[in-house]
Symmetry: C2
Subunit: 442 residues, 2 copies
């Protein structure tokens, strides 16, 4: 399985040591990544949003002809019938079909547990306060075409929406030059996606956000996409909800030197193979373990089909970091707030308790991120770029919303209206004060 | 209590009827409101963000001198000692102090119920999956100065953060020409705000988002503000979390003709007195009740201190709408997805069940919005501009985040790794496939 290693895929990865006086400056430089919005992208997206908003279907057809090279004249040609999805599923090899079904079942089981329920509390005077939970009416799921067309992404976005009880789930997926991804369509069938349109880019986001004559307006748009899609989502936020604007994918592995260095090397590769901006970092208390991983990287890299992408990612954004103890490793993890955190430790549990910020924590040597990416059950849409400091994995809760319920009784009003009136007067809002006071019985 | 009614505060409010053939077009025109970002605001905010990011305290001091007219030379002068907050609280009149304390207690009790708890499920093969819940480390609370300096806003933002267990809560409030609002400082004392800086505008948002030599970087910024603050929050989103960018405040009242028209008129005024863009809409099945409310508006308006603002708001954005039945009224409510919905009905409960989209529902004649704004318990920070279709009131859950836990057992890996490998191969991600396969025992 060895092959020639061209220079562009040579195994280079930086080594850092926490004892180095500028260690933290080096770490910050390694993490620094700013999602720059290209001005040309911004202008193009603006134009597309405006065109779709004002001319609807006509603009959608025009952009789809231009950008995806399709020769379409009617919107009906851009909708895939449900039978096409069912056929794609039926035509899958048994092993793929089985894997997709089992992954979907596990994802559904885990997400069922996330469902929010409403509640009401009643006070002694009959006043009732509560929280009502409602699923979103209609959600748009953007699925990229081309290289990054991932059926797992359909499962991870569609299943929580369906578990939440979303009324209608509309998927858009570009089919450049008519090319369809059968696994993506099969996943749409399996998860019960309601309608599928073969369009992509900012025009798909615009159509979902504003609605056209053919494509119904949704309440929220989820799913990954390229720079144009990300910018379009950012700009329609407010008109509709959006999930998040994701940065490059990241893994941080903490090691106590136990386990197989080749496993760790391959886990770093799995992150790095996404793209050159992906970030793979290993932190270990054992310098000789870091050496062993570096050797495994060198040995295994030439055997990987995507070795050039992996090499570039490791060289630009990867690192092997030596620390004195696991407390330091945990401090680094909390500073990085990684999307994925593997605790490649003999006894991971107590260390997991000390982690404050991470998208997902994988405990122990058997908990490889790849299992989590596809079929463990939890969602693989996770906060990137340190946003695990303030945000959460995609979940059922992203497709439900809460409404406060306030049912003040006559007796309750006698107690509460004077408080409200006093505070309203303090704020100079006299109509507030009087509308409360009107409820006070003489 | 009557006074001269100048033309600018004459009671004008449009009447709509669901039987009118363009009713829905008229309704959509009434609701249409686009939060336009002034380009000049965007440029100014960009410059402020860049300056604070690169020069920190120096820029903060400079802008605070220029925009708030303060003669400060050291950052220490911009921090209020905790004793100043305690003194503001101690100096309040007993009635205000009592109202603030009782409101805070009720808000805390309601929000306690929202706290998320983590969970773990264990499978037969020893694999454990779960969700860990962690509070945010540090949160910034923006409080506006001047006219819109509302102590209730401090309660509604600070209490959920504290209930969530946020480590440090940092408040910024501008003090133009040194003017402090004692009620705001008292509310900060009462809710246990950890540090208070007297600065505002985009420079406050920038300082909280990036951190300066003196002001620590936060993980999320919440709280209302003017156009500069809103635009700054929008631009730092991603670096830190933000709550939402709120639009004008709205109330929708559904009436079956029961209850007192003067109460309804005053409830409409309470919304309208916020500002000229606020929206107050009444929908009733009874034309004569709409007439009675119109008369009450005319009678009561001259008695209101903010009659000019109320009149402008009602004239530009208000409406009295006649419908045939409550089913139609509910359909209109679900289309509007109002921030506040009052069900001024004899029997509100069954109708509340049919509401799919609203920030808060107030049930029955005693449940006036003003009580909810201050002291019922639920939060008064609610989704505006139809965003109740996809978002929720501010809550404890906005100050907590989830982390997925994946602890695959050795036996679990034997079952799951082949599924992951099959799906990874289907996506062309061979390092993912191999990192899973490495866990399969020979």
């Amino acid at each position: 399985m060895t092959s020639q290693t061209p220079d562009s895929s040579a195994a280079r990865i930086r080594r850092l040591d926490v004892r180095d006086p500028d260690f933290f400056a080096q770490l910050d430089a390694l993490l620094a990544f700013e999602a720059q919005t290209d001005e040309a992208v911004g202008r193009a997206v603006d134009e597309i949003l405006r065109a779709v908003r004002t001319t609807g279907d006509a603009a959608v057809l025009d952009y789809t002809r231009r950008f995806d090279g399709l020769t379409v004249t009617h919107m009906a040609e851009l909708e895939l019938p449900k039978s096409a999805l069912a056929e794609a599923f039926a035509a899958l090899p048994a092993e793929q079909k089985d894997a997709l079904v089992r992954a979907a079942e596990r994802i559904e089981t885990f997400h069922e547990r996330q469902k929010l329920e409403g509640w009401v509390i009643e006070e002694a005077d009959g006043t009732r306060l509560g929280q009502k939970v409602t699923p979103l009416d209609r959600v748009g799921l953007y699925v990229p075409g081309g290289r990054a067309a991932y059926p797992s992404s359909v499962l991870m976005n569609a299943i929580p929406a369906k578990v939440a009880g979303v009324g209608e789930l509309i998927m858009t997926v570009p089919t450049p030059r008519g090319e369809k991804n059968p696994l993506v369509l099969a996943a749409a069938h399996l998860t019960g996606v309601d309608r599928v349109f073969t369009l992509g880019g900012a025009q798909a986001v615009a159509a979902l956000a504003y609605g056209t004559q053919t494509i119904p307006q949704v309440d929220k748009i989820v799913g990954p996409g390229n720079a144009y899609v990300a910018e379009a989502k950012r700009r329609v936020f407010g008109v509709v909800g959006i999930d998040m604007v994701a940065g490059p994918s990241e893994v941080l592995i903490l090691s106590d030197g136990s386990g197989d260095p080749a496993w760790v090397a391959m886990d770093l590769f799995a992150q790095a193979e996404h793209d050159e901006l992906a970030q793979s970092i290993l932190v270990s208390t054992q310098a000789d373990f870091l050496d062993a991983v570096a050797e495994a990287i060198e040995r295994l890299l030439p055997t990987m089909p995507r070795r050039e992408v992996i090499a570039a990612s490791l060289a630009h954004r990867g690192a092997l970091i030596r620390v004195d103890d696991l407390e330091q490793a945990v401090a680094i993890a909390n500073r990085i707030a990684p999307e994925h955190l593997e605790l490649a430790l003999e006894d991971p549990e107590p260390w997991a308790d000390k982690i404050r910020h991470a998208g997902a924590i994988f405990l122990g040597h058997w908990s490889v991120e790849a299992i989590g990416d596809y079929c463990a059950g939890p969602n693989h849409v996770l906060p990137t770029m340190r946003s695990a400091r303030f945000s959460s994995p995609l979940g059922v809760y992203d497709f439900q919303k809460r409404t406060s319920l306030v049912a003040v009784s006559r007796a309750g009003a006698q107690k509460l209206a004077p408080i409200a009136a006093t505070l309203a007067q303090g704020e100079g809002l006299m109509a507030h004060a009087r509308s409360a006071q009107m409820r006070i019985l003489p």
